[in-house]
Subunit: 96 residues, 2 copies
C-alpha cells in the first residue's frame, strides 16, 4: 500500500511540541519524510493499521489535524513532484 | 478529478514569503485548505492543468517543494480524517 500522512499539530503548548515529535517519530519507522509535515509510506496492511492506531492515539482531536490518504496505482500515476524532492524510490534499480 | 496539493515554501526571505502567499492564493481559487500547507481540490482536467502550470511558475525549484497527488475513487476510499477537519463535502446533501 502507498500511503500519505499529513498532519498539523498545534504546537502552542509544550504538550503540543511533544505530540509533534511523537507523530514525526512514529512516521519515520515506516515512511519517508517528503515535506515538513508530510510522509509517504510504502507499507503492508498490518503495518498501516498499527501506524494509524499509533497516530490516532498521539494527536489531540480538538487541537490537531491528521489526514491519511490512500494512493492507488504506480507512483507516476498518483504523484507529481516539483522543486525539492526528498523521496528515495527503493523500487527503482540502484545505479552505482 | 480529486487532487491534493502539498507544498513547503522556504520563507527565509521576503521573496519566499511572497511565493507562499501566491501559492496559497492560487490554490484557494479551486481548492479547499485542509491543513496549513495542504489543499484538496475537486476540479476538471482543464482547471487542473491551469492550476498546476500556475503553481510550477510560482515556486522556486531550488528552495521549495510542491507535491501534487492524484486521488482515485470515492472520498471514503482515499482519505481518512482524524482531529480537526476543515473540509466541506459539497457533494453530500446539505442538511438545513
Amino acid at each position: 500500500m502507498n500511503i500519505l500522512i499529513a498532519y498539523d499539530v498545534n504546537t502552542e503548548t509544550v504538550e503540543g511540541q511533544k505530540r509533534l515529535r511523537r507523530v514525526a517519530k512514529a512516521c519515520t519507522e515506516y515512511c519517508q519524510r517528503v515535506q515538513k509535515s508530510l510522509f509517504e509510506c510504502y507499507i503492508n496492511a498490518e503495518q498501516f493499521e498499527k501506524l494509524e492506531h499509533l497516530l490516532i492515539n498521539i494527536i489531540d482531536n480538538k487541537k490537531d489535524s491528521l489526514r491519511i490518504y490512500l494512493l492507488y496505482g504506480a507512483r507516476e500515476r498518483f504523484v507529481r513532484v516539483y522543486g525539492i524532492d526528498r523521496y528515495i524510490d527503493f523500487e527503482k534499480p540502484l545505479i552505482l
